[in-house]
Every structure is written in C-alpha cells, then in structure tokens.
Symmetry: C2
Subunit: 442 residues, 2 copies
C-alpha cells in the first residue's frame, strides 16, 4: 500500500491525483488544499470580466469530484519532515495541526500573481487577475470605474485589456518590452496584434515601465516615464511567481529559474518528493534548457507523469514547447516553440518566413486573414517555432508542436496531408504556404 | 530549354504549371484546357446551392493568372504521339487541329461525375454536381422544385442535401452503403451525422439502391427497392470516374483502380509523361496499396511534385492519407487514414476508442460536443486513422495526419503539447483524451 500525499488541488494536483488513482487501485491518496473550494479555472477570469462568461461562480468547482481520493479543503501544508516522511498541515478553520505520513509526496503548490514593489502598489482598485477573489473584486469595481490601466501585455494582460474595453472602459495597456505578447511573438508579428487592440480602442504603450501608482486611498493615476495616466482601476498582469516556500524550507533544491528543480521523472532533489505545475521547473524540448512554463497545459501534462510515477509507474516528462493561444479583442493569436528572438538567444542560426493567407477560400463568407511566421534552423531547416494569427491559429500551433517534437523540416511540413472544404479551410493549407516560403529562403 | 505541356487546368494542372515555373525559369510551359474559362472551385458548388456563396460566378476564375505560362483555353487534347513526343490538340472554336511538341507531358485530365446506367437517368431535372454548368442548371431548377432526392451520401451528397434543405426543399438522401459518409466514417460515427441530418429535416435512407428514375420528360419519382419517392429534382452524387481516355489511347498503363498508373515520381509507364490529380492512381501511405484519392488536396500535392519533376527536379510523392472534411447541416465532420472497417479489410488487427469531449470549457458559451474515434494497431498501438465530429474537426484530422505519417503511437499522442484558452479550446485536448482511452484498451 502506497500513501501518496498531494499539496495543491489545481490543474497539476488534480491531474496527479486522478492519474495516480487510475494507475494504482491500492494507493491511498490524500490531497490537501488551502482553498475552501475544490478547483477553479483561472484562465476563464478575463472572460468573466468581459461578460462572455456570465457568472464568475461558473469558474468554480465547489466540491471535488474524484472518487477514491481524499481531498481535504481548507487545509494548508506548513512543513515537510523529509526524514520521517511526514507532511505537517493546519486546518484553517479549526487551526488544528496534524502530521500526515507519506510514502510519496507531490508538491503542486502553484504560483501567485507578481506584485512589483513600486510606490502605491497597495492602493485601492489596484488588482491582480489570478484568483476568484481577484475576479470578484474587479467585477465589483467595474461599475464605478471609467479609466483602466492594465500593466503587462502577456496573454492575461491582453485578454484583461480586451475585456475591460468590451465593458466600455477607457483602457491603456502598458508593456515594458518593446512589443505586446513578448514571450509569444516576435515584434513583426506583435505589430498586427497591437493594431487590432488599437482598433478596438485600447491605447497600447510599449517600452514603458510603471514607476509609481498615485492616489489617495484609491488609485487615481499611473506614472510612467514621462507620462502620468489617469486611472481609477489598475490590473497588474506582469506574471506569476512560483510558490516554493514549502520546498525551500524542506531543503529541496531550486533550479536556475528559482523554481523547484526536477528530473525527467519530475522528482525533486528528494527522490520521494515530486514537484509539478507552476512551482516546478520545466525544460524546453528544443534547447534542453530550464524554463518557466507555468501553463495550465504544462501543469496537466506534468500532473499525469508525476501521478503515475508516485503510484509506482515509470513515466518520463520530456519537456515543453510552450504552445500558447490568447484572444486579443477577438483576434486568435497562437505561438509554439521558439520565436526568432528566442532562437537567436539560444544560439541558433535561423531562417524565417512570414506569409499571409486566407482562412477560407476568398469567395466564402467569413474568410479572414491568417498570418503565419515560421522559425527554422538555417541549415537543414528544422522547424524551431511558429506564430499564427487568425481564426484557427491554435490548431495550427498544435500541429506545429507535433512537427517540432518530431524534428520535422520545412520540406516535410510542405508535404503534409490536410483537409479542405470551403466552409472550413482553403484548398492550400496556410502552414504549407509558410513552409514553402521557408524553402524558398534556402 | 525544356518544353513542358500540361493537359488540364484545374487544381492539379494549375499547381503543376506554377511549380514547374518556379523550379525552372528557362522551361517553356504550355497548358491546354478544354474549358473556356481558366479554373473553378467545384468544392464550392454545394454552398452556392445552399446560398452561403451568393453568386456562382464567384467560383470561377475567368482568366489564368500565372505569369510565364502559356494557358490556352478552349483547346482540347485529342491524342498523344509518344514516339514523336507531340500532343495533338483542337481549338474548340476554330476547330483547327495542331501538334504541340513536348519534352515532358503532364496529364491532369481530371474526372467526370459518374452517371449510373439506370432507366430514366437522362430525364430532365436529374443533375450531377460537378461543373459550373451543373450548378447553374440546378440553381435554375430550384425555384420550380419542391421535393429533392440526393443519391449518394459521400461528402458532396451530404453537402448537397444540406444545401437543398437549407433552401426549404423536402430532401431525401439515399445511400447504397449501410451508413452515410461510408469512406470517411465507421457506422458508429456515421450514426451521429445521420442524426444531425435528420434533425435538419432530411430523410436519410441507407442500404438502398436506386433502381430507376421515373417521369415524363422531367423526373417525377425515384424508385428504390420497395419504395417509390416522389421527386421533382434529383442530384446524383455517387462519385466520379477518372478521365483516362487520352492516356489509354496513347497506350499508357492503368493501375488496378483503372486510373493512370504512376510511380513515386508520378511518372506514367512512359517516362516522359506524368499523370496527376483525379485521373492518376494514388497510393495509401499506410498500406502502400493503390487507391482512388480524387481530392483537391491530393491534386495540388501531386501537381507540385510532377511540376518540379517535369522541370528537371527530383521530388517524391509518398502517398496519401485522405484527410477529408465535410459539413453536414452545420456539423463539421473530418476523417483521416483508415477507418476501423478499412483497417480490418487491409489486414490490420485493430484497437479503437471513441470519446466525447467539449470543444471549449463547459462554462464557456458556444461549447459544443466533439466526438473522436481513433483506430490503432492492436499491437504497439500505432495510429492508423481518426474520425472527428464537431467544431474544429478538420484541425484535429490534420494533426492526426501528421501523427500517422510519423508512425506515432497512442502513447506519444497522449503526450503532445497543445494550446489552451477558454474561448478556443478546453484545458485537455480531445485528441489526448482519445489517445488515453486507447491506452486503457491495452
């Protein structure tokens, strides 16, 4: 009988529990979760703000539905005794402390929204967008807000800005990097997204750092270099920081990204403890380098591997390609693998091609533009990454993910089989057009 | 200087001309095409009938836009002198005959709609749906028609039936096989499509052969075994027959499917003559067996290879997986590789899994069902085929096409990277769910 204890019941912890349960019918599986409700869907929050999802309660699963798993809500993990193999926990209602013995421990402690240490960060109406409570607070503030500033133009920032604009607020989106969606897109592709945001009425300011938030009690303006922007609502969307406190206290090693270091079985420096999800370091499948993935999909994929391994299996987590999709004021934007910028930084000599196609035949109503940028190694033209903008971008990024994983070249990509029917797609697949453009670069 | 002559200016011929032009700046390229307009988009015809495409003229490209290629419209190829390497052609307006010398000849003669030799087939208001003229005739007949029978429930038949129903006609769809979309789907998956068609008000009759069409001058009923269905409009959509007359007269070999036999460079039995598109035999990438592909995408892919080879290159056409998508009364249906039925016929021992997921998170408006069936080899679980129904089916089939081409197993498919954002997809990719279901079959 194996006793598996899991800390955290979001995407990673939930999936690990389910995978362990499936793999080993005998294991005794306990999950402790600080929240008083089971799981929620953080990626849905921007769409609650925008009104597409009518009720924030819809994002919350109040009770765990996982037969054969003992899920203890409202219970916080306080310390790990790695010698005795005990997890010390505290019930947040009764404040009672107890020790839970484990044979295998899985840390899925997640991450928290990053709040920069700038003056005014604690003013009223300055929010993050990470928890259900964040969402509720912003919803409550919406009706008395007119001018919003969103700081950070990653996927969440872009979606939040789009949502607030949709709700009729004046919105300024501020990004420190020279272009929006900096991790996902090269600047040439980001320009198209910024254009769409501007068209929707969002003022986009890049290469601007926030110096200070001003106001009395509540925020009234955001101070950038050389500019002060009036604002009665601010959303900080500059990223998340991994929750590694428990691991550090237990003496587990951190990796170069300051996340919990894990091997390819997702074991930490203590072989009986696994780490998964936003608190665990991932590895880039292309470069082999450690990176912060912190995606729900990565959490789920890691959860599956660690759950099986903790239950006695032998699964390998090979790494991530960071396939990401976001909606920018109705524009579908997806990315996978390395951008040209990231590929150069990683030491690759690259060859790139950018093409513009239609999502359907020109004569079909609803045909829209699709822009694709492919990044390949100059020699041999192995695909390293892709950026896709337009309806159906996510599907193309998923296909590119597979192509990258399989080490495919532009030549091979130009020869793929694909479907065609006018209401769905054009007779020449945009990815093939992009691959052929790369071939002409040889 | 190479003289390349191409017969036929649809998907295959057009692509071959363009590819040859790109590959060899010196080549002299001539295309002869019987039609008086350049190309048209036959796959768009059902959507003209349904009204989504407002004008049938939108499907026609009246003038060829291919710089550096001499396209001769209204000119019919009559005979090939393989000894002298001359193509005999006739101008259909002047009736003048001439001989065009070639170094390489590419046959892209296409196919014609199949008309079964049953009584009444030549009655008025009995149509095929293949050419622009077919479309125009049906459009003209629509206003005076009330009851339609569509014979053949392949993609075109299903789309035509959906279109006529959309226009308000009473529609009966008759299929000889036991289920709709027989080449694309196994019967268990076809049931869902038949249900959707029925819901749209189409009467679907399977396992029924048409014996006779009755009427005086114009059709008034369709006679099946044991049933006579009143009809004032009939569309025959039972398939196409390859146009191989020119090739046969020239002594070129046909393959077991009675299409022009070609090698992996798309050369016919005469090494200076290539054949591509609907008239040329394709090969299944999985079984290696000859098959009738007759898809626009196959024509395009073949055109590229033959165009380059005719111009002095060395490209291989590896075969097809027959990725197909169709719309059944608004339902997206896609298929790739082998169905379970086809896999068994090809001698595979198979393992299959069918799952039902959502296209988006349950809380997101517009989330709809997606059904996926995967077919794998029982041993080792190499993926052989997939059938997908629901929004985004085509993208999944494209991804499966790549997985099949790369010889991926269910295990590998369960580990893919994919994108997630609530407006676009759920946090667990349906293909992963399907792959995991297959894994549990081991």
């Amino acid at each position: 009988l194996t006793r598996i204890v899991i800390v955290g019941f979001q995407s990673a912890g939930l999936t690990a529990a389910a995978a362990a349960r499936l793999y080993n019918r005998e294991a005794e599986i306990t999950v402790v979760e600080r929240r008083t409700y089971a799981t929620y869907h953080p990626c849905g929050l921007p769409f609650v703000l925008g009104g597409e999802v009518p009720n924030i309660r819809d994002l919350v699963e109040t009770t765990p539905r996982l037969p054969g798993v003992n899920v203890r809500l409202g219970v916080e993990a306080k310390a790990i005794d790695t010698q005795e193999k005990m997890l010390e926990v505290q019930d947040l209602r009764t404040l009672q402390v107890e020790k839970i013995p484990y044979d295998r421990l899985i840390l899925a402690t997640g991450s928290q929204a990053l709040k920069p240490p700038i003056p005014g960060i604690d003013l009223g109406n300055v929010f993050c967008l990470r928890t259900v409570e964040d969402g509720q607070r912003i919803l409550a503030a919406l009706s008395r807000s007119r001018r919003a500033v969103v700081v950070g133009a990653g996927p969440i920032g872009v979606e939040a800005a789009s949502a607030l604009r949709e709700r009729g607020l004046e919105v300024v989106l501020v990004e420190m990097q020279p272009a929006v969606l900096p991790g996902m897109l090269d600047p040439d592709m980001a320009a198209g997204v910024a254009e769409r945001l501007a068209k929707a009425g969002i003022r986009v300011l890049c290469s601007k750092a926030v110096k200070e938030l001003r106001g009395e009690g509540e925020v009234s303006s955001v101070v950038l270099e050389g500019e002060e922007i009036p604002a009665d609502l601010v959303i900080m969307a500059i990223g998340v920081k991994p929750d590694v406190e428990l691991a550090v206290k237990a003496g587990l090693k951190l990796g170069p990204t300051r996340m919990i270091a894990v091997d390819d079985h997702l074991r930490t420096s203590d072989p009986d403890i696994f780490a998964i999800g936003d608190c665990a370091e991932a590895r880039c499948l292309i470069t082999g380098r450690p990176l912060r993935s912190q995606l729900a999909t990565t959490a789920i994929r890691m959860g599956r591997v660690a759950g099986v391994n903790a239950a006695g299996g032998d699964e390998v987590f090979e790494g991530v390609l960071n396939a990401v999709v976001t909606m920018a004021s109705g524009l579908e934007v997806a990315s996978v693998g390395l951008t040209a910028t990231a590929a150069s930084e990683a030491g690759f000599e690259t060859s790139t091609a950018r093409v513009r196609c239609l999502t359907k035949p020109h004569y079909f109503p609803g045909a829209g533009p699709m822009t694709i940028k492919l990044v390949a190694e100059r020699k041999g033209q192995r695909i390293l990454g892709g950026q896709v903008i337009g309806d159906g971008a996510a599907g193309r990024a998923n296909l590119l993910a597979l192509a990258i994983r399989k080490g495919m070249t532009a030549k091979e990509l130009s020869q793929i089989d694909y479907c065609y029917a006018p209401p769905v797609s054009d007779s020449i697949e945009p990815l093939v057009v992009a691959a052929e453009a790369l071939l002409r670069r040889r």
